[in-house]
Symmetry: C3
Subunit: 208 residues, 3 copies
């Protein structure tokens, strides 16, 4: 199953990127492993808790924890070499964002007769909440709330996937189309520094 393979690669890459953030915050080895794991598996965990879907994926498949912990330890050991793989990380992260979103939509749809709009929201939560929890634990405003077209990629991917299935398109076709469109959209967003509109302090003067 293509999606599952991408999923395993993606949680490994996400755990590595989380571990790098942990190293930059001067965490110890435990902290690095925990932050890597939260980055990789946090989005799916939040989704499952919000749905009430038990057991959680990493409880049913503890090997996912083994993947993320090993990835974090390897990152800590090889930290000085990691910047050579910077572009690879961006690409795998883009793939992961899109794959997480599609998997999240699938799990939400399989669980209950949710409204399609809610399914897309759960896909987005799966895609972006791992990084959001990582940033909360690193004591910074979540990047996904401030920068870049990232959550938007997830929403477009999920919307396309759910929309195509609603139109009775074959599930594999829907999933490959959403994967392709979302991935290209994310790469273009990185390449051309696309951003959503932002606002600033001056716009809301008068509130203290």
């Amino acid at each position: 199953m293509l999606l599952h393979t991408i999923y395993l690669i993606a949680i490994t890459a996400e755990a590595m990127s989380g571990a790098i953030m942990g190293i930059r915050r001067e965490m110890d080895l435990f902290g690095i492993c925990l932050i890597g794991t939260v980055t990789a598996l946090g989005g799916g965990t939040v989704r499952d808790i919000l749905i009430g879907h038990y057991p959680l994926s990493w409880v049913a498949h503890p090997e996912y924890l083994a993947f993320t912990i090993c990835a974090a330890v390897v990152t800590a050991i090889a930290a000085r070499k990691m910047h050579h793989f910077k572009s690879a990380f961006l690409i795998v992260d883009a793939l992961g964002l899109v794959a997480f979103t599609i998997i999240g939509c699938d799990i939400a749809r399989a669980f209950s007769e949710f409204n399609p709009f809610v399914v897309v929201i759960f896909g987005m939560i799966t895609g972006v909440f791992g990084g959001l929890l990582r940033d909360v634990l690193c004591n910074q405003i979540p990047l996904v709330l401030q920068r870049e077209v990232y959550a938007s990629v997830s929403l477009v991917t999920g919307g396309l996937y759910v929309g195509l299935q609603w139109l009775d398109v074959n599930a594999n076709v829907a999933s490959l189309s959403a994967l392709g469109v979302g991935f290209v959209f994310r790469l273009l967003a990185i390449r051309y520094h696309w951003m959503l509109p932002r606002f600033n302090e001056k716009d809301v003067q008068g509130f203290e």
Copy 2:
């Protein structure tokens, strides 16, 4: 139903106040919508997760998400005008705090034979945890832990509501009394800058 109308007005106002905080943190449009939604619906979501009450309100009623997202977008567009409504926000927020609390107590009581003390706690969680999550995502110590008589209003409202029902007072009378007392209490607390006792660093010297 009066409470339900107040609820819809309150989640709209809370989403707007969350959005203003997001703008002040230089978030993009996605961040503003997410922070508005978390502020408005986060308290009820935390309550439902702590109770194990599924589906969550916004999963069963996706129109709530539509309300909060529209409110956040409008706030972003009209940001420069928002300070004209500052007093209106404080009043609607006070009403929302009290209404959220009563609704939270109701949901907890309907779900299980909880201890009345626990019901009041769930009412308070419904009332204040949206703002608490907002502050965590905005990377600041939650205001509700430091300033003003806010959570206390929620506890008094919930205590009165649960106490009156325990005394077999009619549910509507109990709910209107708690609504009125809580609302006036909150307005007085704002007007006269009431605060709970606070402590400071010097009191705990010797701990590092």
Copy 3:
């Protein structure tokens, strides 16, 4: 039951240490009580939410809330005297960490046929996530991710406990052995300032 007695002493001590952190962050009385309660009961709450184990311990036993709130209020009143008990806090905290871990493993094992590795993880979550939530609410990077051999004590305690039971050792013997080994391990870690390997910013230059 020895473990239950240690549990009650430990939640009281954890609530007091949480309250001290709240005082240092200039919280008001509500904030101090909430931060004390989250520190004491947050680990078990996160574990139960991740397992899907309802009702939560403090919902089933509201007297736990009474314990933590009273402990926080007493701490606020007697704040200036608290530093006299600094060593006592460290010792009770060590005992609590170990007892929380063993209780967490027990609850996870009783709930479902989890993989032993997952049981140890739930023990660790019970032991350390209260402090982690406390630090998130106090707007700082969780101490447990950066400093000292703390989570490791929890993992060793849980691993020993689950391992001994897997070897068919009597439950009381397993629990007392794990309690003793974990407690001594933690005291030694404090005494000799043991730390896990840490990394720093320079190791990951090249990532921005």
